[in-house]
């Protein structure tokens, strides 16, 4: 019960405010009055709007036949019509005396102007001026309001009042953008020479939208003879320059090439970009050196534009620059554009490299090919199937489906032979074309050949070649061109021959120096030791087959032409490979062979075999698993004198480089776990991990882990100490002023709560709050200001009392100490004498020591008292709550409503 009461006593501040009924009635009446005013005004305004609308509608109905009469009046009409026309004129003149009617008629004419064309429109424009409506528009130009001026200009422009040109032209540099823009359009619309005046005089920015609108005006002008816009390329207003460039491009004025080239160096990127566009449009080839010059100083957009222009205008000489850009530039778009530009100059110079799949020869395909080639042997010479220089590989799925469909080997072979013979013919043609193109010094010799070679074998019979046709042009460039009438001094090169036919290799070929890079297959690599699995991609390193001299002339031509292109390639290392029997009937020629410069050769991993750590080791020379050895054996080439590229060293490899190669460290399970844990702790932990680390240290046996733990403990300890010290120093250095908790609260609460809070300041505040209350004395709200003033007074009193009390307490304590000292001394001196309190005070007087004012100084109660447990008298607890405590200070809603009127009046009075 007591607790409940004390609770109520503590929360008396949130009691509902007392309502003053007198004010309530006043407010009710005020609100009723306001509602009435509101309703009446809505009614009045609505009626006015609807009546105006009705009036407008009626007047429009009245005016429209008149307008029609005026528009379609012709002089050669009957007398009655003429008199009717004169009557109408008089009627209209009467109507136009009223300003509203004039406005309405203007609106009508403006509306009609949009809907009619031809001679009716011309008559309508004339009527506008005849009726003198343009005078109103002129009057608007003198207004101080920008929207009225803009409306006036717009009206004069719409109704094409040419006489307004000189009046409007003075607004061309108006600082109000709407007026200025309207004037710009008016100037360009009203007279053909307006564009010249505008470009000459405008000092302001011409926005993109404005440029479009102006261009639209110019575009729709009938019989417009555009001026030479190059005259404004020298303007000091860069927006004029930009607009002039756009107009030059639009009107195809290609007589400003030098200026365009000069503008490539302009500071403004947009102008540079527009100049580049013009250069591209007008094929200004002389701009190419400057384009290259400014390229590296430009942003990405301009770079792309420059590359596009070089691609369009450039020649072979510019490809070097483009290649350099493609190599150096980091930005993807620029790089791509550079490559695109190269291809624009020399088509298909740069081939696609991304996402190109490498098709592998599957066993089933191999069987099909095998059977095909066996059939090929029986074919007549000259019709021998010939695939392109690159391999003929077969798409797995289609081929598979063909096999599954039950196509016999003979069918397949027939299909393939037909297709391949076609390919051969095509290739032959292609290469002839290539020869011709090479001889005439044109670019892209083999590009032509590639275009002639059917890129794929038709899938009609279930077979599809995915060979891209010829390989890169440089790969076969070393062979001279051979014509059918000119027997080749070089051995013929049969790509499609089976190995059985490839026995007659010439001795010259065999004596060629061969430079092999030795590789060794990893042990455990599959499977068939005698016939390892080799994919066409895996033997890129192998040189081409050279052999049969008895090949058809066409083949010779093809190969010779191809190889002749590669003669210039000094890095090429040819290798004669004579193959009597291929892998499962394949010749090496059956695989995709790529001639690569020795120094350009790709990473060794490309070969497809796993390499050992020391690829140059020769210790496994005789290993039968070695693919190369196996291939040589299979093709009876093991007798060929092979020159290995060896790295000869005096010392073993380990001795030479061992000191440079770090020892590998392998962790066991525990070590891995511990190192991971320590990594995590190091990354995310702090001094709180020290106990854990100490535990780990105690349990750990490995020295290197122990070392790391110790290091971490030291690190964390150092960090913690440093942090603590720093924090302490920081706080000390700050020497922060006392901060009032009320100040913070005060910011985030409403007015009512503020006033309540101020009441609480007296109860719980101390000297820290004085400064805060001091600040509130300048608060804009008078209520809060007054309240703060009162509270400040009370608080100062309270603080003064507390200070006094503290002083008293201090004195009491001193007195107590003195008495204790006195008692002790007296007891020591005269233990039998017992001093009373009066005697003690008398003594103090004698000694001129001031005793404590508190009579109960010796009965100090140090027991702390719980506020909630405090016992209050019944009178206090039954005391009625004063409701005005809140409402009085003006925090209630009704009080604020009451104050609203006064505040409103205050605002009105400034």
């Amino acid at each position: 019960m007591l607790k409940t009461r004390s609770l109520f006593w503590n929360h008396h501040l949130i009691t509902a405010p007392e309502i003053d009924t007198e004010w309530l009635w006043v407010l009710t009446l005020v609100f009723m009055g306001l509602s009435a005013v509101y309703l009446v005004s809505v009614f009045v305004f609505r009626n006015r709007i609807s009546s105006t609308s009705e009036k407008t509608k009626k007047l429009k109905k009245e005016l429209s036949p008149m307008i029609s009469e005026f528009l379609f009046y012709e002089d050669d009409v009957a007398k009655s019509e003429k008199s009717h026309y004169i009557d109408l004129k008089i009627q209209v003149r009467e109507l136009l005396k009223d300003r509203f009617n004039r406005q309405l008629l203007t609106e009508v004419l403006l509306d009609l102007k949009k809907d009619v064309s031809g001679d009716t429109r011309m008559r309508l424009l004339q009527l506008y001026q005849d009726l003198g409506l343009h005078n109103d528009a002129f009057a608007k130009l003198h207004s101080w309001r920008w929207e009225v001026i803009a409306k006036g200009i717009s009206q004069l422009t719409e109704m094409q009042v040419e006489s307004a040109y000189s009046f409007i032209s003075k607004f061309i540099n108006d600082r109000r953008s709407t007026v200025r823009k309207q004037a710009e359009i008016a100037i360009v619309t009203l007279k053909p020479e307006g564009i010249n005046y505008f470009l000459d005089t405008t000092r302001y920015k011409i926005s993109e939208w404005q440029q479009l609108k102006l261009l639209d005006v110019l575009r729709n002008r009938e019989t417009f003879d555009p001026p030479r816009f190059k005259l404004w390329l020298t303007s000091t207003n860069r927006h004029v320059v930009l607009f002039a460039l756009r107009l030059i491009k639009y009107y195809n004025q290609n007589d400003a090439n030098s200026s365009l080239v000069e503008l490539l160096k302009h500071k403004t990127a947009l102008i540079r970009l527009e100049a580049i566009e013009c250069i591209k449009e007008f094929n200004v080839v002389e701009a190419l050196p400057v384009l290259k010059k400014v390229f590296y100083k430009s942003n990405t957009d301009i770079k792309i534009a420059i590359l596009g222009t070089i691609g369009e205008l450039g020649g072979q000489a510019d490809t070097g620059f483009l290649h350099a850009v493609a190599q150096r530039e980091g930005h993807f778009s620029v790089k791509s554009k550079a490559l695109a530009a190269i291809n624009m100059i020399a088509p298909e110079t740069v081939m696609p490299t991304e996402g190109i799949d490498h098709f592998e020869v599957e066993p089933v395909e191999r069987e099909i090919l095998d059977s095909t080639y066996k059939t090929d042997e029986n074919m007549e010479e000259g019709v021998r199937p010939q695939e392109p220089l690159a391999d003929l590989t077969i798409s797995g799925k289609e081929d598979q489906s063909a096999v599954e469909a039950g196509l016999g080997a003979s069918d397949m072979s027939t299909a393939l032979s037909v297709v391949t013979s076609e390919a051969a013919t095509g290739l032959g043609k292609g290469l002839v074309g290539a020869t011709a193109s090479r001889e005439t010094g044109k670019k892209g010799q083999c590009g032509t050949a590639q275009e002639h070679v059917p890129p794929s074998v038709s899938g009609g019979k279930g077979l599809r070649s995915v060979s891209p046709g010829l390989g890169p042009p440089a790969n076969i460039i070393f062979l001279p061109p051979v014509t059918p009438s000119d027997p080749s001094p070089y051995p013929s090169f049969d790509k499609t021959n089976s190995m059985k036919d490839a026995t007659n290799h010439g001795p010259d070929i065999l004596n060629l120096e061969v430079c092999y890079e030795e590789i060794r297959a990893m042990p455990g690599r599959p499977d068939r030791t005698d016939q390892p699995q080799i994919h066409s991609d895996d033997i890129d390193f192998l040189p081409p087959t050279a052999g049969n001299e008895e090949e058809g002339k066409t083949e010779n031509d093809l190969v010779a032409q191809g190889f002749s292109n590669a003669v210039d390639d000094p890095g090429f290392v040819p290798g004669p490979v004579d193959m009597s029997d291929g892998i499962e009937g394949y010749g090496l020629s059956d695989f995709e062979v790529e001639f690569v410069k020795a120094e350009d050769r790709g990473p060794i991993e490309d070969i497809g075999f796993e390499l050992e750590e020391a690829p140059y080791s020769v210790e496994d020379e005789g290993d039968q698993d070695d693919v190369l050895t196996w291939l040589l054996l299979q093709n009876e080439l093991n007798e060929i004198e092979v020159e290995y590229e060896e790295v000869t060293t005096d010392l073993p490899l380990d001795d030479q480089w061992g000191h440079l190669i770090p020892e590998p460290v392998y962790y066991d399970h525990h070590e891995t776990y511990m190192m991971g844990l320590l990594d995590d702790l190091e990354e995310m932990g702090d001094h709180r991990e020290i106990p854990l680390l100490e535990e780990l240290l105690a349990a750990e046996k490995k020295n290197f882990i122990k070392d790391r733990i110790v290091r971490m403990i030291k690190l964390f300890s150092r960090q913690h100490d440093g942090h603590t010290t720093t924090k302490k120093n920081y706080v000390e250095e700050l020497n922060l002023p006392f901060f009032s908790v009320f100040a913070d609260l005060f910011k985030n609460i409403d007015r009512e709560a503020k006033l309540i809070l101020l009441d609480e300041v007296v109860a719980v505040g101390d000297e820290k709050e004085i400064k805060f209350l001091d600040g509130l004395l300048e608060h804009p709200d008078t209520e809060i200001r007054d309240k703060a003033h009162q509270v400040l007074k009370l608080l100062v009193d309270k603080m003064a009392r507390e200070k006094q009390s503290e002083k008293d307490k201090k004195k009491e304590s001193e007195a107590r100490e003195t008495k204790a000292l006195f008692d002790r001394q007296m007891a020591e001196e005269n233990p039998e004498v017992d001093y009373t309190e009066d005697e003690f005070h008398q003594l103090l007087d004698e000694m001129e020591i001031e005793p404590s004012a508190d009579p109960e100084v010796f009965e100090i109660d140090f027991e702390p008292e719980e506020a909630l447990d405090r016992c209050h008298s019944k009178e206090i607890l039954d005391m009625p709550v004063v409701a005005t405590e809140v409402s009085h200070n003006g925090a209630s809603f009704l009080f604020q409503l009451y104050r609203l009127q006064r505040n409103f009046m205050c605002k009105l009075n400034g």
Binding site: K60, K61, S64, P65, I67, S68, E69, L71, F72, V108, D111, L112, K114, D115, V116, S117, G118, D119, T120, R121
Partner: protein, 123 residues
């Protein structure tokens, strides 16, 4: 001389008034309707010699009007449609449904007069 009846379906009062005046002066008896409903009502009673209709009209568009005349009334009365520029799709629809001619806004009343005369001469 009997004047040809021309139904002008146009919701813009000003333009309608202007065209009405011009066509009237050109020798036609013009019946003006400002919305599709009125047009439908009128067509239920009499069939004009020619219809000049705007495509965009309240309640009953010009396209619907063509459909109504051709499919429901089974009439071959010439229909000239008025359409805003850039409304080619509607114009094509109108031709598919059986419109005879079209004229785009802004309209030249003189041109309209010529087109009306031509359509009537065709028939």
């Amino acid at each position: 001389m009997v004047r040809k009846k021309l139904l002008l379906a146009e919701d813009d009062e000003l333009l309608a008034s202007l065209l009405n005046f011009r066509l009237n002066k050109g020798g036609y008896e013009v019946i003006h309707s400002s919305n599709g409903k009125q047009v439908k009502e009128f067509l239920g009673q009499t069939m004009p010699d020619i219809i000049v209709s705007d495509i965009m009209m309240p309640y009953f568009s010009g396209i619907e009007l063509i459909g109504y005349v051709r499919n429901e009334l089974k009439s071959a009365v010439p229909i000239i449609i008025i359409s805003s520029a850039g409304n080619e799709e509607n114009v094509l629809n109108a031709f598919e449904l059986g419109a005879n001619d079209f004229i785009s806004k802004p309209v030249s009343p003189s041109e309209l007069l010529v087109r009306v005369a031509r359509e009537l001469n065709k028939n």
